[in-house]
């Protein structure tokens, strides 16, 4: 009986491994296909047959994508927008996260719950008034500011950093205060250096999110030179509907920075998802 259960257990482990590997294959396949077909010659045709290994790799699809008048500008725009939003979140979300985690003041919990509750508001509800406010009232249509301003600090980032900072020891902060540090001094000299891993997680996630964001930049920009890479890619799909090769080249270029970030900073990624989420 012992031998039989051992064999069964081993067969079970083998089957589960096989299933997992099959699923990896299914999830990675589309990405592999994107990357491999971006090197395919002669892609300007609908009868573009899939080829598992590209026989004659070429950079032509990349040339065709980069020959678009604004394709490099789209990358630059995305870097600017994702970079600025990450920067402002690093400053303001960390300050707020610290205040909610470590400072005592009247209304602290009420204000925190008020901010947190906005995460439950579906995006559609604020979309139209936000558009009217920023485009019609503030007159910011087709500007960088319009793309950035609603995201200067996001509630999920405040929440993530509050969670992280709550676990820091308070003793060091008290020591700082006794040594005559102001509140801002305590924050910048003690809290920030101790929170670097949490801040890194926040920065990575924010950059990826706003590198990948589509809808809002799509709504508030109107000219080709102001598009982000995601919006540019989407519009390219309608402008050059048959050039799959160039579309895949553009997609690969847009995905590579994120993949590189993911592979080099994997530890932070996998941690980060769990810091903010489970303990609601």
């Amino acid at each position: 009986m012992g031998a039989r259960t051992r064999i069964l257990a081993r067969a079970g482990r083998g089957a589960s491994m096989l299933f997992l590997l099959l699923w990896v294959f299914l999830t990675i396949l589309p990405l592999y296909w994107m990357a491999s077909s971006s090197f395919r010659p002669g892609g300007v045709t609908v009868s573009f047959k899939p080829e598992w290994v590209v026989a004659n790799p070429t950079l032509d699809p990349y040339r065709r994508f980069l020959a678009q008048p604004y394709s490099l500008r789209w990358f630059l725009n995305s870097i600017v927008i994702a970079g600025v939003i990450t920067g402002t979140n690093l400053v303001f979300a960390s300050m707020a996260g610290y205040a909610f985690a470590k400072l005592q003041f009247p209304g602290r919990n009420a204000i925190f719950w008020m901010l947190l509750s906005t995460m439950m508001i579906p995006g559609e509800v604020t979309l139209i008034p936000l558009y009217i406010l920023i485009i019609n009232v503030m007159g910011l249509g087709n500007t960088y500011l319009a793309m950035v301003i609603p995201f200067i600090t996001t509630v999920s980032n405040i929440f993530l950093l509050k969670q992280y900072m709550s676990s820091l020891p308070s003793a060091l902060m008290d020591a700082g205060r006794i040594d005559g540090c102001s509140e801002l001094g305590v924050f910048f000299r003690i809290i920030v250096p101790m929170s670097l891993p949490g801040l890194a997680v926040m920065a990575i996630f924010t950059f990826v999110t706003f590198w990948n964001i589509f809808f809002w930049p799509f709504l508030v920009t109107t000219t080709d030179d102001m598009r982000t890479i995601q919006v540019g890619l989407a519009l390219f799909r309608y402008a050059q509907a048959t050039d799959y090769g160039a579309m895949m080249a553009g997609s690969t270029l847009a995905a590579i920075p994120m993949f590189l970030m993911f592979f080099s900073l994997q530890k932070y990624f996998l941690q980060g998802i769990t810091i903010g989420a489970v303990k609601g």
Binding site: V24, L31, W33, K49, I128, I132, A254, F269
Partner: protein, 300 residues
């Protein structure tokens, strides 16, 4: 009570706690400007006929128009079918994968976690572009090539009402369980080993210990994934915009795509606002329902 009670005034609060409020000033201003005011203004707009120069009150007319529009109900149906077809399945897949990964060695765990998470790092636009090509109606499409192996005819996956929505659903199954796997893995890691050991001593098999230990202890994570999953699936846009534009014959017009069209193609902000508040009511109702029914035995 030796100290004299000072009057509770704004001035005193600012003197004692002013510095604290500086730390939260920006988020609070953001809240007022980009959340509270828009929600109120959106509610007002839903009772108006919107014009840049002077809107006029129309009472409940926008809500009436939305609720009597067959396309609105069709969109509600499409959205519900999409949500029912994707959210439970995606969570189920993530749970199955996590339970299978969990007993493996650390190196394999990292490998699988990273592989399953990778598509999540690519943008919705990119994933959709790739899938657009997988669903290509000619033999160049991967799906058609695959069914061609069995001698089946090419299918215009996204171009006919019968297959368009199921195609979206299949695409979602394969591309959006990354973060759910990571979350489940984290929760599985926090379940004490001793629970399983004592269950084994009591003679419980793997199925029994899953039902009595794993599933109940994962419930908070499942609940979180359900609530977030429903909210997200009510907001899908990019796939529809890039693949079908809501067609054919409204087969893939979700409620958020309909709101987009009414607002930004027809500039009917009043109607679109009314529709978004109707959508919000539905989402809130579903969330409350989920909390009520699923959190009964959840301990936080």
């Amino acid at each position: 009570m030796g100290q004299m009670q000072q009057p509770f005034t704004v001035k005193r609060i600012m003197r004692d706690y002013g510095a604290c409020y500086v730390f939260i000033l920006v988020p609070v201003l953001m809240f007022l400007l980009f959340k509270l005011i828009p929600v109120v203004y959106g509610l007002v707009t839903s009772f108006q006929k919107y014009k840049v120069m002077g809107s006029s009150w129309v009472g409940l007319k926008n809500y009436g128009r939305a609720l009597t529009d067959p396309v609105f109900w069709k969109a509600m149906e499409v959205t519900s079918l999409f949500t029912l077809g994707t959210v439970p399945v995606t969570i189920g897949i993530a749970l199955l994968l996590s339970v299978l990964i969990h007993p493996l060695k650390k190196g394999w765990q990292t490998f699988f976690k990273a592989s399953f998470y990778l598509p999540t790092v690519a943008s919705g636009v990119i994933i959709t572009m790739i899938w657009l090509w997988i669903f290509e109606p000619t033999t160049a499409g991967l799906f058609n090539m695959f069914i061609g192996l069995f001698g089946l005819e090419n299918v215009n996956w996204l171009g006919q009402s019968r297959t368009a929505l199921p195609s979206f659903i299949v695409m979602t199954w394969l591309s959006s369980h990354g973060s759910a796997v990571i979350l489940y893995m984290a929760s599985l890691g926090s379940i004490p080993r001793s629970l399983y050991e004592s269950a084994e001593i009591d003679g419980a098999g793997p199925a029994r210990s899953f039902r009595s230990i794993t599933w109940p202890l994962l419930k908070p994570t499942t609940l979180y994934l359900l609530v977030i999953g429903v909210i997200n699936s009510f907001q899908v846009f990019i796939q529809i915009y890039l693949m079908t534009m809501g067609g054919p014959n409204f087969a893939t017009t979700t409620i958020s795509f309909l709101i987009y069209q009414h607002a930004f193609e027809y500039y009917d902000f009043g109607l679109a606002s009314a529709e978004s508040f109707l959508l919000a009511i539905v989402i809130v109702a579903i969330s409350i329902f989920q909390f009520k029914f699923l959190s009964q035995d959840v301990e936080y």
